[in-house]
Amino acid sequence: MDMTSQPPLIAVDDLSKSFGPVKALTSMRLVGHAGKVHAVMGENGAGKSTLMKLLSGVFRPDSGIVRLRGEVVAFGHPRDAQNAGISTIFQEFSLLPNLSVAENLFLGREIEHGRTLPAATRRRRTLDVLGELDLRIDPDRRVGSLSVGQQQMVEIAKGVMADASVFIFDEPTAALASHEVETLFALIRRLSAQGKCVFYISHRLSEVFAICDDVTIMKDGAFVSCMPTAETTVDEVIQGMVGRPIEELFEPRVDRPGPVLLEADALVGARASAPLSLQLRAGEIVGVAGLEGQGQQQLMRLLAGFDPARSGKLDLEGQPITGRPARQRMADGIGFVPESRKDDGLFLSLDIGDNMATAALARRPFLSWAPRLGGRIADVMARLSVKAPDARTPVIDLSGGNQQKVVLGRWLLGGARVLLCEEPTRGVDVGAKREIYRQLREFARDGRAILVTSRELPELIGLCDRLLVIRNGAIVAEMDARAATEDALLRAALPDVESQAA
């Protein structure tokens, strides 16, 4: 869809990229024009960041073509993309905090025409570039001592200095204070007024409608649509980002939840930004939905006891457990399934039996005899249908889905009543997903309760009975999963969407 008569400055066609068996990007296309700000939108995991890393030379595409001013380009190294005039401002900065602003701007390009630029020249040119962007930062200032917003400005200055024609901003406002956002927007407008092409990756709808001319929507690593922002609406964009049928993967829900198992009342953790109140009832699976990094992890870890509570109350089956540390809470019956199974959840070199036994052994005093749990472990393995010859198989040899079952089995064996489960199906294939959904539902059906976080909204809606929406560390909405839609969840989870939608 060509919005202007000019040929595009940059055009991406049929771009694909896989990481092992996972297809991150399939036949993606994207067109950017000089002087335009172009939003790229999509849900978490839609492939936005992969696309931008391909454009900036961090990854190499498996197939597809990138044309810059009509000419086909291929980048083997970030430097290639920078030399071609594509400058990327990543979420995680590529600046060196121990170097000064001037040293960062000239890093790797101190030599010009075979001669090293004198420090005074570099300093003067840094001042020129900073002045061009209206930034008042001392060139000798250490980058690590600047605010996040100022560091981002330095990243942009790096691109301006390299005379880039395409600027890519990857979630630029995620870590900015509101006055810094204003400065950033002014800079972006200035860049586009100078005829640069700006790609703006964000899931903040209000920002996209505020500063972008066009918007490309992606879903599941593929192109959905591209249109001028003036000709679309918030609803249409959200529809494009989510509109996928929920796969028939899920078990029937519970009819009537039992008594309250876990109750948090105005619980405040050391790292939490808001007091937390929630109830988990026997038989229930409750989901925590939200954009990435809105405090899901802090919430789970506060309940699990890894973060000490500063105030508030936490009861398990009516017994107060607020002051008890994580190890005692495990013994009390709160199981925790961490998001990164391999780093935090499993001892990869140990066998299935040892991995499953840890929770059961947590109840026992230090240096007590470790009982043989062989028979019970075999029962749990059979119940979860872990695909392994026996309990002596090292966990490292199992597939992602079977590893996840071992973590679940640990808490079945350990007699947990409440399971805190982060991203239950991360890195497992569709078949194993269905199996894990079934296991979680069975776990809950026996009078236990589960709290789940997930990046995938359809998964939460299908799996859970009740959904909590978290934003900025606070639970801002609660809905029945039967009636919930991705649209409604996303609306509740997105900051500032109301003002635009109204």
């Binding site: 961090v58 970030p78 430097r79 920078q82 900065f93 590529s94 600046l95 060196l96 905090p97 121990n98 170097l99 000064s100 602003v101 040293e103 960062n104 000239f106 890093l107 790797g108 390009r109 101190e110 030599i111 090293t116 209206d134 930034l135 008042r136 930062i137 001392d138 000798d140 200032r141 250490r142 980058v143 690590g144 001592s145 100022q150 006055h179 204003e182 400065t183 002014a186 800079l187 200035r190």
Partner: protein
């Protein structure tokens, strides 16, 4: 456009955290302060014996090898590496220099051998991804073995030119001082006046970010091991000349002391902060400490205890977290 207020010209203390150059050298400032305090203390306790021309001249002669290896080690540490093999390289250099060969052959041979060790260290750490401590511990063992094969017991004859360059005085000053000044000047020039220096700081801080900025981070890291080994070979040459003969174990104590000198000078073992200026202070602290304790009649064994305690103190003072990185 909301203009950001220009930061007020920082005060002297704030400069150490805001200004990049001073930030990287702030450990050095502390080390020089400690050194100054020690020198003042010695002026009170043992004024005549410490500040005598003979003692200071001896001190320069003794400290020259430690200066060389500590400065070399500083490069490795800045690049977030670690070189345990410098002691063995000193010994190897001493063994090669007292081989039964013509002098003009032996000196380049010793340097080439050291460069090879440095390349192997760098290649193992950077491309084979062996942990620097394991890699250099392994090469240290190999190199020490080769040194002992070449020169099983102390002896042999040093090339006359080295004997001449490593003993006595020149223009009224001890020759050790010239070695020290030359090594310090070269190291400070390389780190603070060249693009290599900036790239080294960048690589030590974050090799990936440096690579994305177009810095050949792997090559920089390998180069630090080569520099360290070459400095160790020069230290071996100096020691061989000073003793006028070879010793296959002459470097054994200097390996860890080189790390001590750099660390006491505020160079972080995690890379990217510190530098040769601080190492000067660090080495002087070690030298003045040993010398002062000797002059005060303290048992030399206490020196080990004091040195170890100072290392713990230094490393806990110059922590990365407090550096805000």
């Amino acid at each position: 456009m909301t203009p950001q207020s220009r930061p007020a010209r920082p005060g002297a203390l704030a400069r150490f955290s805001q200004d990049a150059f001073w930030f990287r050298q702030r450990g050095a400032a502390l080390s020089f302060a400690i050194l100054l305090a020690m020198l003042l203390l010695l002026a009170v306790v043992v004024p005549h014996s410490f500040y005598s021309a003979t003692n200071l001249s001896n001190l320069a002669g003794q400290l020259a090898p430690l200066f060389l290896v500590s400065l070399g080690q500083t490069f490795v540490l800045l690049g977030a590496g670690f070189d345990l093999s410098v002691g063995a390289v000193i010994s190897l250099s001493s063994a090669i220099l007292t081989l039964d060969l013509a002098g003009p052959v032996k000196i380049p041979l010793a340097l080439a051998a050291a460069a090879t060790v440095g390349l192997v260290n760098g290649w193992g750490c950077v491309y084979l991804r062996v942990h620097p401590i394991i890699m250099t511990l392994a090469t240290s063992s190999i190199v020490q073995g080769v040194a002992l094969l070449l020169l099983p017991t102390p002896g042999g004859v040093a090339p006359p030119i080295l004997v001449c360059m490593a003993s006595g005085t020149f223009l009224g000053l001890p020759v050790g001082l010239y070695w020290i000044v030359a090594a310090c000047a070269a190291a400070i020039w390389a780190v603070h006046a060249t693009t290599y220096g900036i790239r080294l700081y960048a690589t030590g801080q974050n090799p990936l970010a440096a690579w994305m900025s177009g810095v050949q981070a792997p090559r920089i890291r390998v180069s630090t091991y080569v520099i360290s080994a070459l400095m160790a070979a020069l230290a071996g040459a100096y020691l061989t000349g000073r003793l006028a003969s070879g010793d296959p174990n002459v470097g054994s104590a200097l390996g860890l002391d080189s790390v001590l000198g750099a660390a006491l000078g505020g160079t972080l073992l995690s890379g990217g902060v510190g530098g040769p200026i601080g190492t000067i202070a660090g080495v002087l602290i070690i030298g003045v400490l040993n010398n002062g304790l000797n002059l005060a009649g303290v048992s030399p064994y206490y020196q080990f205890i004091v040195k170890g305690s100072m290392l713990v103190l230094a490393v806990s003072l110059f922590r990365r977290k407090e550096a805000g990185l």
